[in-house]
């Protein structure tokens, strides 16, 4: 079977999930939902098929599993969002259109992604600029004390989602040039490999940038995601665990220092450690969110309450789970589909990661390989950061669950990420086939 036919068959689970999920939610809440809302699901499936046909023509050799996995996640997200609020589901379906346009644009206009190497510094500056945007007066928006979004008119946008791709591109191209030097020029001191300072400089800059993120954006989770992605690429480029260890220690030191000196970050850690302390629970922006997240999960149990069954709002309509459609969507999934459903979602991400790393190993040049590694690692880390936050493994932060959470910037950015991965894959497999 050809790769594209496999992809087509791979879309069947997504279609089934979407149909079943929409039917379940609709039957549950017939009295509040309009019949029209059922079409959002149909539109969504149509878009998936269109994207598939598009890939048949543009990237015939690309990995056949990535897109169905993404479609499955997106369908899952749409069902849950539909369950929370059907208006949001319509908007999400619209954002899906925008995301697919971006996806197609990248594939059509960036015929050879390797030209990105040439603009690495421009891209790095764009990335850093994007990160700083939320702090600009007028457009910056503070949510729960963190500066993650910007607001232009009615549209809010999380620039960090795009910035993560920019920074991965930069690091991949930078490491391609310097990875030999970093290893060969290194001296060993007391069993630890120390790279030459000249080449290590830019890496310190990255560390500095992620620390800056802590200070400026005040978000531990996303800076962990950035720096973790960077360390993953550094490790793959140099095969030196010691670099990673040094990086981790530097990060931990910085995080600890800033965590104890910046009020907001410190508060987040406090609420993480003891979410049920009444004073923290009742404080605005305190531990109410994480506590409710855990209560919702406890409600789910092994198999959950079923689609459309979870308690989301008080009798007077106030939501009981803050940000249920974005940050806490994983808690809603666990509530309604239980541990089983949550593990299913994590498994899909794990399969996605596996395919991403597979692409990295197949790529024939180190830039492609590093780029695939970085994009995959950053996505996996994003999942870890938000799910870890919702399950109280780490302090809760406001990043999205890729492809599942509601949010335009998240969908657009992650579709660009997907487009790049598929392009790398297409080239790698074509080159392999050509010998």
């Amino acid at each position: 079977m050809s790769a594209r036919n496999r992809e087509l068959f791979g879309l069947i689970p997504a279609a089934l999930l979407l149909t079943g999920g929409f039917a379940a939610v609709f039957i549950q809440q017939q009295n509040v939902l309009s019949d029209v809302s059922l079409t959002y699901g149909a539109i969504f499936l149509g878009l998936c098929l269109a994207a598939h046909v598009f890939l048949r023509f543009t990237l015939p050799n690309a990995d056949p599993y990535l897109f169905p996995l993404v479609a499955l996640l997106a369908c899952f997200g749409l069902v849950v969002i539909y369950r929370i609020d059907d208006t949001l589901a319509r908007e999400q379906a619209q954002w899906f259109v925008v995301g697919l346009i971006a996806f197609a644009a990248v594939i059509l206009f960036l015929r050879d992604y390797r030209v990105l190497e040439r603009y690495r510094y421009t891209i790095a500056f764009i990335g850093l600029g994007l990160l700083v945007l939320p702090r600009l007066p007028g457009i910056g928006a503070q949510v729960n004390g963190a500066y993650l979004g910007i607001k232009i008119g009615p549209v809010t946008f999380q620039p960090a989602e795009l910035a993560k791709i920019c920074l991965v591109i930069f690091v991949a191209s930078y490491l391609r040039d310097t990875r030999q030097v970093l290893v060969l020029g290194a001296r060993r001191f007391m069993g630890v490999t120390i790279p030459p300072l000249k080449h290590f400089g830019p890496l310190l800059v990255i560390w500095g940038a992620s620390m800056l993120m802590l200070v400026l954006i005040r978000d531990l989770g996303s800076s962990l995601m950035f720096f973790g992605g960077f360390l993953a690429m550094l490790y793959v480029a140099t095969n030196r665990v010691s670099f990673v260890l040094v990086g981790l220690i530097l990060f931990a030191l910085g995080a600890w220092f800033l965590g104890s000196h910046i009020g907001h970050v410190h508060d987040r850690v406090e609420t993480w450690l003891d979410p049920f302390r009444t004073t923290l629970y009742n404080k605005p922006g305190g531990s109410y969110q994480i506590a409710q997240s855990l209560f919702a999960q406890a409600d789910g149990g092994l198999i959950g309450t079923g689609f459309g069954q979870a308690l989301l709002s008080l009798p007077n309509g106030t939501p009981i789970l803050p940000a249920a459609h974005t940050d806490l969507i994983y808690a809603v999934i666990t509530n309604e589909l239980g541990l089983a459903g949550a593990c299913g979602v994590l498994l899909v991400y794990l399969l996605f990661t596996e395919r991403g790393f597979k692409i990295a190993t197949l790529a024939r040049d180190s830039f492609s390989s590093l780029l695939a590694t970085g994009l995959t690692a950053v996505l996996a880390l994003q999942v870890f950061v938000i799910v870890g936050g919702v399950t109280k493994v780490i302090p809760l932060t406001g990043v999205t669950l890729p492809f599942v959470s509601y949010g335009g910037s998240s969908i657009v950015a992650n579709f660009i990420l997907l487009a790049l991965l598929l392009q790398i894959s297409d080239r790698a497999r074509r080159d392999r086939a050509a010998g």
């Binding site: 999960q297 406890a298 459309g308």
Partner: protein, 479 residues
Amino acid sequence: MNTPITRLFGLVVLLFAVLVFATSWWTEFGAQRLRDNPLNRRQLLEDAKVKRGRILADDGSVLARSVKAQGDTYTRIYPSNSFSHEVGYSFTTLGRAGLEESRNPALTGQGGEVDTLIDQLSGRKKAGDDVVTNLDPAAQKVALEQLAGRKGSVVAMEPGTGKVRVMASVPGFDQNQVPKHFKQLNRDTDAPLLNRSTQAGYPPGSTFKVITATAALDSGKFTQDSTLNGDSGVEISGVPLANDGGEDFGPINMTDALTHSVNTYWAQIGEKLGKATMAKYMNLYGFDRKPPLDYPNPQKRASGEYSKRGRLLPPTSNQVDVGRMAIGQDKLAVTPLQMAEVAATIANGGVRVKPRLTSKVVDPDGRTTQRINPQDVTRVMKKSTAVQLAQMMSKVVQEGTGTAAALEGIDVAGKTGTAEIDVANNITQPWFIAFAPAKNPRIAIAATVERSQGGFGGTVAAPIAKAVMEQLLQGGSQQ
């Protein structure tokens, strides 16, 4: 570069394993603690969406029902307040009390495990089951009228089945007003939210002599004819003890000593029996632990000896004066429910049965899903002992301190009690425990009045018990 990529994937697997572990922790292993967390109001909110079943009296009258409220929730209405303590209340903001709490699973329609799973899969909205009680509104009304606003309690139950027919506690409260006035109700010095039948600890006075008599006869150490010195001034634990009014009875046998409630006689019996024997029989009667009534545990109290700090003492404790305990003094604090159980046990030939408020659970389609059948707890004494006690208690009503409880044409067996609360101000705790008919008992009762201004068990409590028994035994035929 492929080896580090593989290792990196291994690390991602590890990180995801942590996430799976954390999720299983919150959903399974640590879930119960989260559900019990007082900050977690999900269950209450969820329950408010269920149309709770009704609570019904024995005659079918409705004591509690649910009506539509805000959004898709329901709220509780209590058409009658004469059973405020038994029924309790259920409100999202305050939680639950009484039968609303102890029968919550039935009222919210949480049947067996299988039922719940099917409900979960099909997503069917649960409807609660009706709870039918054994409570008799007519007799409860008589009890409340008889108490006439005086603080106190009347508990009446069927000896053979344990059906609780009356469990009046004064003052009561209007359950419909609980959400609005909860703070006031809690602060009220009359403690209207306290169920005096199950939560109040009163000195039992001479009613306790029935328990001493049980121990004396059933242990075989004494007989109805055992004669002791009934004069005032006998030393008990080194301190002289007086009879009521300082009366001297001279040498007296057991039957007469119960008829005339001779303190010195029974105190000597207690000392001679010793703490271990007394403890054994108190235990069999159900003292020292919470009674097995289908009522929330926090709203029940164990009867027995209590230290000054309010800790429950075993009757064998060296702080106990066994002679004075035997006549219901010392540090005894008992509930009216416990004393009703004592009367019911003797009436039932020495076998103690579980008291129970609920008779059955009926689902919305009218099918009985659960029948609460009579259940024996233990044999407290030999049948012959129970017969002898019944004879002696009959005599109390025929010619002794309890004549005020005599019913026309029906032989009543009973025992009075008058505990001194405040001698200087003449404040007492009058008691009467009884069962009738003495030969083939159909009802057992305990009645008491809190801080009565003077008066004795025979004059204050016996008439209350009499009226309630009359209603329960004859009321049906008269109406």
